[in-house]
Symmetry: C2
Subunit: 230 residues, 2 copies
Amino acid sequence: MAKKISDRHKQVLKVVQKHNDEYGYAPSYRDICEETEITSTSMVNYYLKQLEEVGYIQREENISRTLSVTEKAKRKYHQLLGITEDFINDMVRSLSVPMVGEIVASEPVPVPAGDIGLQDYENSVDLAASLIPRNADNENLFALEVKGDSMIDAMVNDGDIVIMKPSQEVKNGEMVAVRINEDETTLKYFFKEDDRVRLQPANPTMDPIFVEKSTPIEIQGKVVLVLRQI
Amino acid sequence: MAKKISDRHKQVLKVVQKHNDEYGYAPSYRDICEETEITSTSMVNYYLKQLEEVGYIQREENISRTLSVTEKAKRKYHQLLGITEDFINDMVRSLSVPMVGEIVASEPVPVPAGDIGLQDYENSVDLAASLIPRNADNENLFALEVKGDSMIDAMVNDGDIVIMKPSQEVKNGEMVAVRINEDETTLKYFFKEDDRVRLQPANPTMDPIFVEKSTPIEIQGKVVLVLRQI
DNA sequence: CTTGACACAGAACGAATGTTCGGATAGAAT
DNA sequence: ATTCTATCCGAACATTCGTTCTGTGTCAAG
């Protein structure tokens, strides 16, 4: 195992990445010699073996031109490898959030169980990742379509899409889907007060709901984004 | 020059594309034999020569594993090649809409003049293109941040972002930014009636505004999307 | 001073791989 | 009937290319 990634290692990484980008196929060991100060294919193999061991290179034994730089190496050496923001943006720019169902006041939120896979749902909503707060777990977001006018106090219309993340814990000021008394689901800003919970509508002209501690409420998720297509 | 692209040609195209996708490197001629009903490398060469002639394959002479399917072939045979909408979407998936300013009831909408370039504005909003209606002119969308509570009847909160497109013509049912009597800007669904215009709030519990033809109104843009980050 | 580890080199080898050759078959055109 | 073209095949060959071998030099550690 190499003690550290030397300049020669970095030269090799760079050539592999650059060749794949420019030619659309991997360099041979002899190609790497030509583009670096390495003069023998056994040294190329020596460096590649080490880069492979630390997970920066991928190759297939006894098959020609299979060298590729791994995602791990790209993240660590993106500047060296000439990987632009476009590449980084392409990795994080968009995500598909599964449309798991509908939200209505009369039913609990259909929070998916466990890890959500896109393949489990027929529809999804594509989002630019920059719209999602950094602390949201992008892996487990889900989308619900609002049915009916019962969410108007949340400034959410029939037909709007709410992007949510599963959560039972809430901080003050976060908007939650809360089921009150197993009777009604509503979207409200959540504030914990001394002896009760204040559920504040998004519509500033409407009054909050105060829920005594004796009333069971269930936090069914947090809202991170509302979308209204017109 | 092949008279036409036969099933065998298509098999070869498919294998080249599939191998590149799955393995990250190109197939050899023998790999292609194994994945098709072709039993000799000379026939593979025969088909590749023809595919190269019509511009569907790219390869380098005497260099191993350089086969790739060209963009021309991908566009023509995307279904055969298993090129999903994802590929097509990746080409058009997201767009950046410039944040040109704010919308408040007391000011006209700051509609940008002429073609909008991202470089003219410091901020932008990234959107998945699938959220935008097909008829919207993606080139000229602009974003405005809502200031104040004056758009509540439009179910739009202080801090929300509205995505708009410039437009002076409206169809019934579209949501517009309309300036009434050079006095107030509001977001409403627009309906032209016999002798007046009905501006319908998004909030179904609120009453519409009726504007007589004698009252000057100015359509300052159409709303295509509302975003609320929470 | 000796030893071991690391970096380096050229050469040889064997396998992988693309190209070419000679030939066969079927069908269309003359 | 003959010729031409397209399609097909296996084999051989040449080149490409990855792996291995043997050896050298440098430097740090003991």
